[in-house]
């Protein structure tokens, strides 16, 4: 039999699933004692070239409690595009072969060159969109403009004032999307929207390509004067509200992306994050902790409401925030957390943004976009299991079934979640509970099963359902603890626990979360460690758990749980990506990878430790968000001296080039594009590296460790060694 390692890998490749435990304890009590819950990371759209899709769209009755699939016995009115369900007689709109929808929401309060770059990116994107995709444009600054794309004579846009919160109905009325007469006819399905009406704002790319290109080209910076000492008035809140309202009214339950491009924080109207006085800085963690962030709660609430509306309709909101200062992502995090994703950069005129944005439209081996919409993921479990919740870019659909646990972890209380936008890497953490009572043991050899049913709209506009069913053996924890221990997937467990921690961090104080994490770690060590009581030196962990404490150590230091040195926006940004990436990427985020390049041998991964920082090395660190190339002191001096230019030092040139090539490789595949940093010993940017490595050498112990190795880190943070020592001590102490 293959090792668990191989088993796990196979399962992941096949199902996109990794469980924390691959043998399940057979009772609730035992499961609880395992500390790390039975849980999994599930990647619904794991790319499976070999997986044949069913070649038609399942069309289901729209009545919530019917869901019958369209079948030959149904009456279909082709003219009205309506079919009647033959089970419940619900009249359903015949599923429009809904096109993809891209709605650009563009901030015009940008610097000229930023705007120019953004305009170019947007224009470029038109050529990347599927020709039949619908595209729309909303621009905003002090006002919000919804551009009509169908007009032939002169360009036309609808304008909303940026300070007024409007209901969806009002927005639709103002955009002329509702016909008053329709409202008076009860019983008719909510307006198969007048195609012509909605199309004014959302047009097939191939029809308005030229128009839109021109329109984008003529886009001006927000013309309202910005007095000195003021921020430009930016009506992000209303702009989003209008975007959501527009889509709600025209294409409910159809895959759509709202792409919001912002260059600064919302400064007026609902969703305002900071006032327009420059003398009032945008809130910091300090302000938030002191409860000094005036607009925080209100704005957050506002965006949450928007996010929920958007999620309900299966529309995702992506945020591209490019600014040196914060842009209010903290308040807006819900939007992307629940539906889309966030990209954060310094400027629209950077390759980070440009390439990231371009990558959104990457295609897979089938020539399809790597995106799917309106996913609904349902979890079904065998009797012994119940689902506690999910953590990831999903929204509860509040579907209470027999397999829903009372015990909530993450977004719980339901067996169905909506995942508005899906990419092949989108990964949810799903947490289960074993409900079997201890005194009702499961028969030997029994298996528990979990089925994931994921419906989604494929980027080729088909609706698809992917079903993933997996089963694991039950094991008696008392007699088979060894087996269970060896079935532990410490990587998955670390990520799943980290997600729990991050999820808690959203609502709890940082220290509390850390304490909770520590406690869990200690308990796990107590459970599975081998040690003599009260003898830290005797402590030993099995191979399947050996890395786990180290993950936890780095997790504790990560920006997901530490807000120090991070702005609230950055924290939100990091957390956002953390809870949606797959296991590998998540692990990189928790514990960055460090490669070393030197003349001493081929490139090799080295410890993420200050001791790895040597003068004759080039280091490449990948933290997922940053890609740092660090030239050691000597290397840097050589480079400065220009040896790489000399023919006789060709090898040095190659050495310099090697990390660049590797970095390029990573950049090619990573989404979003990481921040690319090329630095050297003593460079200011070296802080990215120094802040990540384990501070094994600090100013405190510098001389204890010998001159030759590594670089001291000026920090009071504990090092891994100290951490481990403490852990051992606590684990072996009975009182813990």
């Amino acid at each position: 039999m293959a090792t668990y390692q191989e088993f796990i890998q196979q399962n992941e490749d096949r199902d996109g699933v990794r469980f924390s435990w691959n043998l399940w304890p057979s009772s609730r009590l035992e499961a609880t004692r395992l500390v790390v819950p039975v849980s999994c990371l599930f990647t619904p759209l794991k790319e499976r070239p070999d997986l044949p899709p069913v070649q038609y769209e399942p069309v289901m009755c729209s009545r919530a409690n019917c869901k019958a699939v369209l079948n030959p016995l149904c009456q279909v009115d082709f003219r009205a595009k309506i079919w009647a369900c033959n089970f419940c007689f619900q009249r359903n709109p015949r599923g429009p072969s809904a096109p993809l929808i891209f709605l650009y929401v563009v901030d015009t309060c940008l610097e000229e060159e930023d705007l120019q770059a953004l305009k170019e990116s947007l224009q470029m994107s038109l050529s990347l969109l599927p020709p039949n995709a619908l595209v729309g444009l909303i621009t905003f600054g002090r006002m919000v403009q919804v551009h009509e794309l169908s007009c032939e004579l002169i360009s036309k846009s609808y304008v909303f004032r940026g300070t007024k919160d409007l209901t969806s109905k009002q927005i639709q009325e103002m955009l002329g999307l509702t016909k008053p007469s329709v409202a008076g006819q009860p019983g008719r399905p909510p307006a198969p929207q007048d195609a012509a009406a909605s199309c004014r704002f959302l047009q097939p790319v191939h029809k308005v390509d030229m128009n839109l290109t021109d329109l984008l080209g003529e886009l001006q910076r927000d013309p309202w004067p910005v007095p000195q000492g003021k921020r430009p008035l930016r009506s992000t809140g209303v702009a989003l509200s209008v975007a959501v309202g527009l889509l709600e009214g025209t294409f409910p339950n159809t895959g759509a992306r709202v792409m919001l491009f912002i260059g600064g924080p919302p400064t007026q109207g609902p969703g305002m994050v900071v006032g327009d006085e420059l003398k009032t800085p945008i809130r910091s963690w300090h302000d938030i902790q002191k409860d000094n962030a005036r607009h925080l709660k209100k704005a957050t609430k506002y965006y949450e409401a928007l996010a929920n509306r958007s999620a309900v309709n299966g529309h995702s909101i992506d945020i591209y925030a490019c600014a040196l200062d914060q842009t209010g992502l903290l308040e807006m995090k819900c939007l992307s957390n629940l539906t889309g994703y966030v990209i954060m950069g310094d400027s629209f005129n950077t390759s980070l943004f440009k390439q990231t944005f371009q990558r959104v439209f990457n295609k897979d081996y089938n020539g399809d976009f790597r995106m799917a919409f309106g996913g609904i993921m349902e979890v079904k479990t065998s009797r012994e299991l119940k689902v506690c919740g999910a953590i990831g870019p999903c929204v509860s659909l509040n579907s209470k079934g027999s397999c829903v646990s009372e015990n909530e972890m993450g977004v719980g209380g339901t067996s169905q979640w909506k995942v508005c936008s899906l990419s092949p890497s989108t990964t949810l953490g799903i947490y289960f509970e074993v409900v079997n009572q201890h005194n009702a043991p499961i028969p030997q050899g029994g298996r528990g099963a979990v089925q994931f049913v994921t419906q989604y709209q494929h980027s080729n506009t088909q609706r698809r359902i992917r079903v993933t069913t997996i089963a694991r053996n039950w094991a008696d924890a008392q007699s088979q603890i060894q087996h269970i221990e060896s079935s532990f997937d410490q990587e998955a467990a670390a990520v799943l626990m980290a997600r729990l921690g991050v999820f808690r961090a959203e609502s709890e104080e940082g220290p509390d979360v850390l304490r909770w994490l520590d406690r869990q770690l200690i308990r796990l060590c107590q459970k599975f460690g081998q040690f003599n009581k009260d003898d830290p030196t005797s402590f030993k962990l099995s191979e399947s758990l050996s890395l786990y404490p180290q993950f936890m150590f780095h997790l504790r230091r990560s920006p997901f749980l530490q807000v120090f040195n991070n702005s609230p926006d950055e924290s939100s940004y990091y957390r956002h990506h953390f809870v949606r990436q797959d296991l590998t990427q998540s692990l990189i985020m928790i514990q960055p990878i460090l490669y070393s390049y030197s003349f001493h041998g081929p490139p090799e991964p080295v410890l993420l430790d200050s001791s790895s920082i040597l003068p004759d090395r080039i280091l490449l660190m990948d933290t997922f968000f940053q890609l740092v190339i660090y030239h050691g002191e000597t290397i840097a001096q050589w480079r400065k001296a220009g040896y790489q230019e000399m023919a006789e030092y060709e090898n040095f040139k190659q050495l310099l080039q090697a990390p660049l090539d590797d970095a390029q490789e990573i950049l090619q595949t990573r989404f979003p594009m990481p921040r690319y940093v090329d630095t050297e010993h003593g460079g200011s940017q070296a802080r990215f590296l120094l802040s990540k490595v384990n501070p094994s050498q600090t100013h405190n112990n510098l001389y204890a460790w010998g001159q030759e190795t590594g670089a001291p880190i000026l920090t009071d943070d504990v090092s891994l060694q100290v951490f481990m020592d403490h852990l051992k001590k606590l684990a072996v102490t009975s009182s813990a």
Partner: protein, 1292 residues
């Protein structure tokens, strides 16, 4: 003054059955009847007094009356006679030794003289002209007359003056002077005043005393007249009178040509009282006789004859001399008058009037009767004799007529009749005067006598009156009804036919018979004719009007005259209701004459008059009084060698800033007096400094924003296309200060239906961009940069936009519109751009879409006539009031062009335009084809006209009076500052003044109107208009120097505002009542005693009844069934911004006969009455808003051929809106005429063709203001009678 002697009160209206009761109550009624009775009895009108004309109606001689009526000529003669008589009488009084009166007289006289020298004769001429013209200032005329009269007396001088009208005036004045040698001294100081004084004094002397004086004077006059006619007949006084009259007549004619020759009227007034005096009665009679003669003399006046007549006068003058002597010696006057009076009366009566006399006797004119009859009869016969001078000949009916026609009326073919009538009136007046003279001499007695005498006469009159009254009462049962009187009209027609017969009986059985008499009708020719007055004024206003003399009334608005600014604002900027305002509040209250000024601060001046100079006082800004902040003006008195100046308004002394210091010359005038407009002119502009700017920032150039309704109706009617097309051309003609440069005015465009579409027309764009704002609940401007642009820079984009707009909305199905947000949008745009500006809103329908300012259809015809009617004129929501306030604060002026197909609630929609100094234009059932021209011309004019923005007007007055009320298109946030977001050259503000203290005659009253505004080039300026008027302590001065047209302007605005808060009926009643009080006050305090049966009107106000009737009959106050609420609301607001000339033609349209057109001059208008229309003629009627071409059914073929190119009446296409261009002089001339009319008015008048007896004629007839109308408006005659009744009620 007009005196109606209803000898027989004639049963004007059939309906009066209850005669007796009424009679008793209203003795005056008889007089009313007289009017109506005209037909019955004859009206003899004497213009004895300068102030008033007396209409004497003699019942007795139907025949004669008929004769008179028929023979207008004879009538005319009477005028002549009376006038002279009047003139004299006036003198007489003076002479009679009311020192005070004399003084005044002298004053005037002297004034004239003095005036002449200093100001030049021109000034005199002006004065005289005024007087003569029958201008409000009867005084003038009277003085003139007097002058003439006097002149004759002075004989020596007169002749000289006589030859030349003006000279004559001078002469006359001198003569006057002579007459009142004693007064002379006094007079000198105030020419004008003095004149007024004369009258005043007369009045002042106490009703009685004044009367006496008048009488006295009248007698004199009458004497003169008698002398004139039968000068020799009467000795002494008569002679004096005679001459007086004669001269007056002669003088008058020359002066004004106007028959009205106010002077006579005044005299007549005076006379009547005299007549009333028992003893004097005879004289009165004689006067009447004179009256007879006077007419003759008048005719000459009227006629171009003046010169000739003058000559005759001159000839008479010689005679006068003898008289004069008599004048000179007051005593002699006293003596003579009586004698004369009797004698003239004697002679006249004897001749033809015996019957009339009898009539008189029966009528109030127991005394009169003789007069009346005598005048006519006597005149005729005597005239010859009397006329020996030649004048008389004129006087002779036949002769006179010709003169009239040739004279003042020459232009008007029809005029003769009117003149005739007037002449008729005159005679009576003259009689009156004559009578008075007698009494006058005996001051006390006369008075007493007067009453006594009158009673009888009146009684008689009453009797007659009674008859008529009943009828009246019926028709006018209630005054209120009056307006809507259905009955009145009814009777009137019938009366006309039967008039004569009835008249006869009525006179005889004046008492009872009236019943039948009710049907009788007054001869329309016998009542004051607007046309006559207008023509008279034109004729006399040949010299430029210089504003240097305080308190002189300018020529009428209908007169084309040139103005020289000599220290007071041109009448084109300011016109006052009175140029002599009472010194005390009590007097003002007693008279009820509104004290108001109509100010048109940015009025456009004719090309030959210099626009106000721009004065720059440097960084410190305009020099102002420290205390009251009045601006430097000619009323600031420099003292202490020029180091300080004393404010004329508040008397505060202020240091002269060093840079402004200048030495004074020996007269105390600054050496640079003539170099500085602010010291020597009435109107000028200051350059304002930054302190005068909003927020202390130099203003940006203003912006024009065009907001176009593009809903279904707007597109379908063609409006959208037309507007867009036209705007392309109009953008090149935006107002600018320097015609050589491009306008700095920026433009912006918005279209809208239920939502608003803004357009970005930035020059850098290839195509305009439309920005739709659907959130109309809280309007905002979606863009800043690119919305308001410079035309030159963005021309291509703008043109592209204007091309596209009609296309874009060609298939719109949106029918709902918003309105409030539209204005908000423009307002916000201006706010965002931080500038003032003007919105042009093109709107079609009731804004029912959900939005602020949403309206509902509330038109409810059932409310009309109820107490709730007023609510229909009030805005239905307060939203627009608030909005208007915001607009004003920003300097956002709104012009509204309405194209309604149904009710749009103008009352509400107009709130903002009216409050912001904007205009409302309404094109009901707009159709591109037929209404395009009118609309486009309005639009062009509206866009191009000079305009100021963000204006604040402040009216400062000298201590004692205060501006208390303002009418017009503006907003006021406090009680003193009139705020106008926009102020264009067509907007006038009417300001009412009230006393808050006593005024002094020496200093007069000063008014300074300062308007701070931003010019179209963005320059902040202050326009200052100064006006000084006289103050008087005699009511008669007030009445002598006021302007009816302005009063009507005020009254109409007052009334039209009144209907917002009062039932329409109450407003009408109030109007009638106030006018009755005005006239009654005059009658009581200024007019010579006469029979209550006489209607005596101040010369200056003799048109008050007819104009007032027009106001009462306007659609606003008395709507016809087919007049929509919108129309009324529209007119209501329209009036609020009108100046005097606009209100004048609006209320009394001008009706021009087109049978003969001469190049260079307009045909003389005819009175707005169907009777004046000849079936064979073609007429043009103009109201300032409408233009009708009325074609008589039997119009000459040649005429039709010339105008329409077809000789067939049937082939004329009534749908044409412009006349075919035909190559014949007539067509050319007619079209030129129409064009010039259109050019005169601020709104383009669409030509409507009306064929006689066509259905559309109904509309046309609506504008024949002297006729009764279908909605119950009274005819002129009926109303006059009603008014008379009112007055009598007040007097009793």
């Amino acid at each position: 003054m007009w005196t109606w002697h209803t000898a027989a009160a004639l049963p004007l209206n059939v309906r009066f059955s209850p005669q007796e009761g009424i009679r008793e109550k209203h003795t005056g009624t008889t007089s009313i009847f007289p009017l109506a009775p005209l037909s019955l009895s004859r009206f003899t009108v004497r213009h004895e007094h300068r102030d008033a004309l007396l209409f004497t109606i003699l019942r007795r001689f139907r025949d004669e009356l008929k004769m008179n009526v028929n023979q207008h000529t004879p009538m005319a003669s009477p005028y002549g006679q009376p006038q002279p008589g009047y003139g004299q009488p006036a003198f007489a009084p003076l002479d009679t030794g009311y020192p005070p009166p004399y003084a005044p007289y002298n004053g005037p006289v002297s004034a004239y003289q003095t005036g002449e020298p200093p100001q030049g004769y021109s000034s005199f001429t002006t004065f005289p002209s005024k007087a003569a013209p029958a201008n409000p200032i009867s005084e003038l005329s009277s003085p003139l007359d007097l002058g003439h009269g006097r002149a004759p007396p002075t004989s020596g001088p007169p002749p000289v003056s006589a030859p030349q009208a003006y000279n004559q005036y001078g002469g006359r004045h001198q003569s006057d002077m002579q007459n009142g040698p004693p007064p002379m001294t006094q007079a000198p100081p105030r020419p004008v005043v003095s004149q007024s004084y004369n009258q005043e004094r007369v009045n002042l002397s106490g009703p009685p005393s004044s009367y006496p004086q008048h009488y006295g004077s009248p007698p004199a006059m009458s004497h003169v007249t008698s002398q004139m006619s039968g000068m020799q007949i009467n000795s002494g006084l008569p002679n004096t009178a005679g001459p007086g009259y004669a001269p007056p007549h002669s003088s008058k004619p020359p002066v004004s040509n106007s028959f009205s020759a106010a002077p006579p009227a005044t005299y007549t007034q005076a006379l009547p009282p005299a007549l009333s005096a028992p003893t004097q009665a005879p004289p009165t009679a004689s006067q009447q006789y004179y009256g007879g003669p006077p007419p003759a003399s008048q005719p000459p006046f009227n006629s171009s004859l003046p010169p000739t007549s003058q000559q005759p006068f001159t000839s008479p003058a010689p005679l006068p001399p003898s008289n004069q002597p008599s004048f000179a010696p007051p005593p002699s006057y006293s003596g003579p008058p009586p004698a004369q009076a009797p004698s003239p009366s004697m002679s006249q009566p004897q001749q033809s009037f015996p019957p009339t006399q009898s009539a008189f006797s029966s009528a109030p004119q127991g005394s009169f009767p003789p007069r009346a009859p005598p005048p006519t009869s006597s005149q005729y016969p005597p005239p010859p004799t009397s006329t020996p001078s030649g004048q008389y000949p004129g006087p002779l009916p036949p002769q006179q007529q010709p003169p009239f026609s040739s004279g003042p009326f020459p232009s008007r073919p029809q005029m003769p009749p009117t003149s005739m009538s007037q002449s008729n009136h005159l005679p009576p007046e003259s009689q009156g005067p004559l009578g008075p003279p007698g009494p006058l001499q005996q001051m006390p007695p006369p008075q007493h006598a007067m009453p006594g005498g009158y009673p009888p006469q009146q009684n008689g009159a009453f009797g007659q009156v009674r008859g008529p009254q009943p009828g009246f009462t019926a028709p006018y049962p209630a005054q209120p009804n009056y307006g809507a009187l259905g009955p009145a009209p009814g009777p009137a027609p019938s009366t006309q036919k039967r008039l004569d017969p009835d008249a006869i009986p009525s006179p005889q059985a004046s008492d009872m018979p009236t019943v039948q008499k009710s049907r009788h009708r007054i001869d329309p020719d016998a009542i004051p004719s607007p046309i006559q007055v207008i023509e008279d004024d034109k004729a006399k206003s040949t010299e430029p009007f210089s504003t240097g003399v305080r308190g002189q009334a300018p020529p009428l608005v209908t007169t084309d005259f040139h103005v020289k600014d000599q220290g007071n604002a041109s009448p084109r900027f300011i016109r006052c209701t009175a140029y002599n305002i009472p010194c005390t509040a009590d007097m003002a209250k007693q008279s009820q004459v509104p004290l108001a000024a109509v100010i048109k601060p940015l009025a456009t001046l004719p090309a030959d008059e210099t626009p106000p100079y721009l004065v720059d006082h440097g960084e410190g800004g305009p020099i102002r009084c420290n205390r009251c902040k009045a601006y430097m003006c000619p009323y600031m008195q420099f003292i202490e060698g020029g180091r300080r100046f004393q404010c004329g308004f508040c008397s505060c002394v202020t240091e002269v800033p060093p840079h402004y210091f200048q030495h004074l010359d020996h007269t105390g005038k600054r050496v640079d007096f003539y170099d500085r407009p602010e010291l020597s002119l009435g109107s000028y502009e200051f350059l304002a400094t930054v302190d005068y700017c909003k927020n202390n920032k130099i203003p940006q150039p203003p912006a024009f924003i065009f907001l176009i309704d593009v809903s279904y109706n707007a597109v379908k009617s063609g409006m959208v296309g037309i507007v867009c097309q036209e705007l392309k051309a109009l953008l090149d003609r935006l107002p600018r200060e320097n015609p050589d440069l491009d306008s700095t005015v920026r433009v912006g465009f918005v279209t809208y239906n239920k939502v608003l579409h803004f357009y970005n027309v930035k020059s850098s764009l290839a195509q305009p961009q439309m920005l739709v704002v659907s959130d109309v609940s809280e309007m905002f401007v979606p863009l800043l940069d690119g919305f308001l642009v410079n035309v030159g820079e963005s021309r291509q984009v703008i043109e592209s936009l204007l091309d596209h707009i009609p296309e874009m909305f060609a298939n719109t199905r949106e029918t709902e519109t918003v309105f409030g947000p539209v204005i908000q949008a423009g307002l916000e745009a201006l706010k965002a751009a931080d500038c003032a500006g003007k919105l042009f809103v093109f709107h079609t329908s009731l804004p029912i879409a959900e939005a602020p300012g949403k309206l509902k259809n509330r038109e409810d015809k059932k409310l009309i006539g109820t107490d709730k009617e007023k609510s229909l004129f009030q805005p239905q929501v307060s939203f627009y009031n608030t909005l208007a306030k915001e607009c004003v604060a920003q300097g956002c002026c709104v012009d509204l062009f309405l194209f309604p197909n149904q009710y749009v609630d103008v009352a509400t929609l107009a709130v903002v335009p009216v409050s912001t100094g904007g205009s409302v234009y309404k094109y009901t059932y707009f159709q591109a084809q037929s209404d395009q021209e009118r609309f486009l011309n309005d639009l062009r004019r509206d866009v191009q006209k000079p305009i100021g923005f963000d204006a604040v007007m402040r009216v400062r007055t000298s201590t004692g009076i205060r501006a208390t009320d303002f009418f017009g298109s503006f907003f006021m946030s406090n009680t003193t500052d009139v705020e106008l977001a926009g102020l264009d050259c067509d907007k006038a503000v009417t300001v009412e003044f009230k006393h808050d203290d006593k005024l002094s005659e020496e200093t007069g009253a000063l008014v300074q109107c300062a308007v701070l505004y931003t010019s179209c080039g963005g320059q902040r300026r202050l326009r200052v208009h100064n006006m000084a008027v006289n103050c008087c302590s005699q009511l008669s001065d007030l009445y002598r120097n006021c302007e009816t047209d302005t009063i009507i302007n005020f009254l109409s605005k007052y009334a039209f505002r009144g209907i917002l808060n009062n039932p329409t009926k109450a407003v009408r009643d109030t109007l009638v009542n106030q006018c009755a009080q005005i006239l009654a006050c005059y009658r009581k305090n200024c007019a010579s005693p006469s029979s209550a049966g006489q209607l005596i009107l101040p010369e200056c106000m003799k048109l008050l009844p007819v104009y007032l009737n027009c106001v009462l009959k306007s659609d606003v106050l008395l709507p016809a069934a087919d007049v929509s609420l919108d129309d009324r609301a529209y007119l209501r607001q329209l009036i609020s911004g009108m100046d005097v000339s606009e209100t004048h033609v609006f209320f009394y349209p001008r009706l021009l006969p087109l049978m003969k057109l001469e190049s260079g001059s307009l045909p003389v208008a005819v009175r707005a009455s169907e009777e004046r229309l000849s079936k064979g003629g073609v007429y043009l009627l103009e109201t300032g808003l409408h233009l009708f071409l009325w074609v008589g059914a039997n119009a000459q073929q040649e005429l039709l051929l010339n105008i329409f190119g077809t000789s067939s009446f049937g082939q004329i296409d009534t749908t044409m809106t412009s006349l075919p261009v035909l190559d014949n002089p007539f067509s050319q001339r007619l079209r030129d005429m129409i064009d010039s009319f259109r050019a005169q008015r601020s709104r383009y008048m669409k030509l409507m063709l009306v064929k006689q007896e066509d259905r559309s004629e109904l509309i046309f007839r609506h504008f024949l203001m002297e006729d009764k109308n279908v909605s119950g408006g009274a005819s002129y005659v009926d109303f006059l009678c009603h008014m008379h009744k009112e007055i009598r009620q007040l007097l009793s």
